[in-house]
Symmetry: D2
Subunit: 364 residues, 4 copies
């Protein structure tokens, strides 16, 4: 029940701060014999890496991951995999102002109150840099899933930036724009919009959707190993996330029973559903449909407009956060959400195999 | 990492099915010396009990809780508390039709596929009756919290039923209507609306808000012991919940950094905030503000309109669910949400005391 | 990380006190489709039941186990199994003297100091009655193991009572005497010896050996999921146990490397070993040999000889424990040790299947 | 329920192999504000370090520990502490022979069967090098304990090497000889004895005792958070340990109730006991007496006498292990046992504070 761990059988513990020498993830419970190397993990880290476009923080981190254990001659050994990412660009001088002042919307004040320790150089453990470790661990999970469920595909993308929503799901577009938005037209509008925000030193929230297609029916379990319970926890544990929804999500509150229930028919490869309000989960267990999760990321509070705050000694003051920050942190949350989906799914595949072996109930 | 357990130090394991002899909760880790008796727990169970008004299922369960262990002469002993609720009204004849057919929107199909066992009498473990056990456990948590944080107050209420939202938060009204809606006018509109749905055999979703006021700053921890992580998991683990949000929630996606960041000033009793978009949590740790969680409950799929489905042998058919069900299951989710809030908070109070003792950082 | 739970995937939480209305076990994670009924569990409980011979406590408990959940039409459903045993003979008058005095060698004084609660009627949670719940849970584990590893056989027996050791392992004798000693001659000697102790109101310690034959190679994992780590914890968690050893055990301290290392050869069905100093475990993982665990049970401190002690108010006094107690509690620890072995093995079979699927390395 | 983690609130996950680039420990749940630096941890590592005398392996590892996270300006922050030790002397050529042959008494065969991966350079994850990570984590635990229980003193020493036992407990002698034996005369005898073994390429087992004095009453909890349960698991999880005992230990099997029960009297600072057969633990909870644990370490199987074994292809062969090994690995297990005691105690101090706050029952 480690504070910094998640997962049941596939268990990830992240460690490290934004301005320490390194951060990383201790990954335990990975099946043996999974082909893995640093380049594979780097691929996912590069998606999250800062400084990729003018729309993300200009902090220049190589974010190079090293595998320190658990892999031998290119295959996982079944023992703990240590993934380490060294911090290289720790320009702490940029952060000087925050040593004494609490940044509104940041964890400065709560960490100080609880722990009585203040890393004046930045967010420390509460920094979004922690998510690099998750992306690395997610890379391991993806590799293991690739052999266990070859048809599984995990795709994350933005569906909203501020007031701008996209209804389109043109997945081919995702890699074509710096926002991972599945909509070419939206990508252009958003670019203009975010440019404006960036220049004015403002920021904005976002909504990300992560879909896993090809997952089998039967993953999950009652109550606290519900697939949706674990997905909710996984996504909510990401920095700046304020809401998580599955399938119809918060909209389910508006629906009638007739509209909400996904009707069932028999397809060639098993049950099919007329719609997917359930987001692929019924009673905490996967139906075989797409698993659909969305989460909202708040705008970073690091903005150029002065905000009222107090100092450690309780005096009123104002703060402008001049550091290198993201006008829309939601962009970089996309690969993080994918990584969490991968970790949760691998964990449930192993749990399912552990308790059940193979699905026991046949249909047809 | 029990499938059916939640909590770290204050740990609840629920058990039991809708049509078995009994269900209950094994509550471990409660502090000793907490005054508790069956009547105290019954108070909360009666809020959730079916058949309280014409708007909830007419299944008549006494829902009488018995304490089988862990309490001696009216005080908790610090050892496991076993709470048992016997099922009394198990009219299984009503459910005959579902033995062979899968109810759309229910867990029938996923439980069958995974476990290969079908309790033809009803939802079995996936039934919302499981939440009675959580409410009983929540009663224990409330009693423990009453001595640890005397100022803490947990209040749940409905803020939306179908298209009908209430913006009002007139807490005095909550107990005055069968919907726990904090708005007298809404209560009337909703009564008419739900009456119509009930008579037509339809159902509708709902949104519930649970607020904890008086919680101290400092509860929570990074990553997977984040207060919001645990609240998200706790609420998402409730039957029929499809989305969870904290503070500004999904709306955070729309906000700019200027609008979202709650400014800080120094009050007489410590830091104060100009607003509460954070929902009382920054970096996973409580700020001392109100903790605000909302969750959406889907409409029950047990409706009189025929829905297409399949049988266990894979044949196409239709189903009408005639059983005794709730036109708006969200109503009875209110005390369940409160119970989960109580369990999560007690757990974090104990975790905080365990790791930290008392908050270490002073302000002012 | 519940205080009263053990196991990883197959997870048992016991609850209840010696003088409350009932005690039991919440068993989570059992595979579905395991045939189980109350009679099967009762078989094992009857082995442990008090009052079976003049050598065990005369407390007359029916120890009838009821299955309250998790079993439907004779098969496990994969959801939590609640096992309840009602206390029937709670003659609390016998225990009057211990309300104010701490019994030496009992947990009275530590429970009082820690929890500040004193169940003056008996041992409460620290009573060996708790082990009835483990035996019931062990019955579930045995049933699941019977289908997963048909060749597995778990056999417990006494190898020492006081100064009397048996070197013989004549397993056919185990059920032929009230001591579960695999040695007909020892059974006679021990009967005389224990009769004397019983009449003089004394008590004596014992050593129990539990062997599992037929377990496959590959169960276990490094460090804290080592099979021997879990067996040590499982056995040490039984009341009155003061030591646990695997294979050569404490004697390993005396051996040279030449004597200790079990040489390996190739048999028809895989590797064979010239001896079993390892107790069937190397590096925390099973070798396929017999798994051999021994544990020492201290003599009960409930004796007729007056012992010096103090009262709750700190005054010096003496105590004689007149209650109904066992001259050799080790006898009834035999089925408890077997139950713990079954629970640990099932847990590791599921863990192994979860992480690995099937053993990956072939020999020959 | 990570395979490679131990502890509840103070939770340590070790990682790394004998011949990889590094190994270490991720330490989560440490209280904040504990003064710690690399030199403090190095002190303990140096005790365990190979090559300290001619009686331990000649592998020359600097065993330099680096703190990568969780410590800021010399104090723990309350977030995960990453401790890394780089492997420097990995002379893998020495190990060539074991690529194809299974060393009897080593985990080669079980790791191969389970994981299907064979690190032909050495023990990999099953190597005793893993214990370096525990010693580093134990150093953190000691530092935290120093502020929480200033009077606590943890002392480990050897009490047996092969047939040679010491009855003496002259603690001043421990640091005066390379065996950590509390007996000057024994140290001399043992030196001669071990010299002989070393020269003949043989090895021998050992028994280690670890005592914690100054621990308060009240630590522990029922069943699976018993202090003795956790100590048994902690010690048994150390490489090569085959038995663990508390207080009278296995000898308890021989005792009568009169001999075993430690009588209680009232001392100036609370209850006192006439003896300590209990090893400081009753009902799983500490009494305030010395906590006394012993464990047996088997002789290393790396010896010069040829032993029969098989190859991966199942052919009969012989093996001589020429590598750099310890004639008595028990020597280096002393600081490891101390470290495990420290980790378990800190964990229980935090658990106790979490659930209880302070002891609730007064005496006198």
């Amino acid at each position: 029940m480690s504070f910094n761990s998640f997962g049941h059988l596939f268990r990830v513990t992240t460690w490290g701060e934004s301005h320490g020498p390194a951060l990383g993830a201790t990954v335990d419970g990975c099946p043996p014999g999974v082909k893995i190397d640093e380049a594979m993990l780097q691929h996912w880290l590069d998606k999250r890496k800062p400084g990729q476009s003018k729309y993300t923080t200009q902090r220049r981190e190589a974010d190079e991951v090293k595998i320190l254990s658990g892999v031998f001659e290119g295959e996982t050994t079944g023992t703990p995999i240590q993934l380490m990412i060294e911090n290289t660009d720790q320009r702490s001088k940029d952060y000087g102002d925050i040593a004494e002042k609490f940044r509104p919307g940041h964890a400065d004040i709560t960490y100080w109150q609880k722990y009585g320790i203040r890393d004046y150089r930045g967010g420390g453990r509460s920094s979004a840099r922690e998510t690099a470790a998750r992306v690395a661990a997610g890379g391991v999970a993806r590799a293991a899933l690739a052999s266990l469920i070859p048809d599984l595909k995990i795709t994350g993308y933005m569906v909203q930036m501020g007031e701008h929503k996209t209804a389109k799901r043109d997945l081919d577009q995702i890699e074509q724009n710096p926002f991972w938005v599945p909509d070419a037209a939206a990508a252009e509008t958003w670019a203009t919009y975010l440019d404006g925000l960036r220049k004015s030193g403002s920021s904005v929230g976002a909504m990300i959707e992560v879909v896993a297609s090809g997952a089998p029916a039967g993953l999950g379990a009652p109550v606290y190993a519900k697939l949706d319970t674990d997905l909710a926890a996984a996504m909510m544990s990401i920095n700046a996330v304020k809401g998580v929804e599955i399938g119809a999500g918060m909209e389910a509150a508006m629906l009638t029973g007739e509209a909400n229930a996904d009707e069932i028919s028999m397809g060639e490869n098993g049950p099919e559903f007329s719609s997917n309000h359930a987001g692929g989960i019924l009673g905490g267990i996967s139906t075989g449909q797409d698993l659909v999760v969305r989460f909202a990321v708040k705008p970073t509070s690091s903005i150029l407009t002065p905000r009222k705050t107090i100092t450690k000694s309780g005096e009123a003051t104002e703060i402008i956060t001049k550091g290198r920050h993201d006008p829309c942190v939601g962009i970089r949350a996309v690969p993080v959400g994918e990584a969490m989906m991968a970790c949760v799914l691998l964990d449930h595949v192993l749990l399912h195999r552990g308790q059940i072996g193979e699905n026991r109930g046949e249909i047809g």
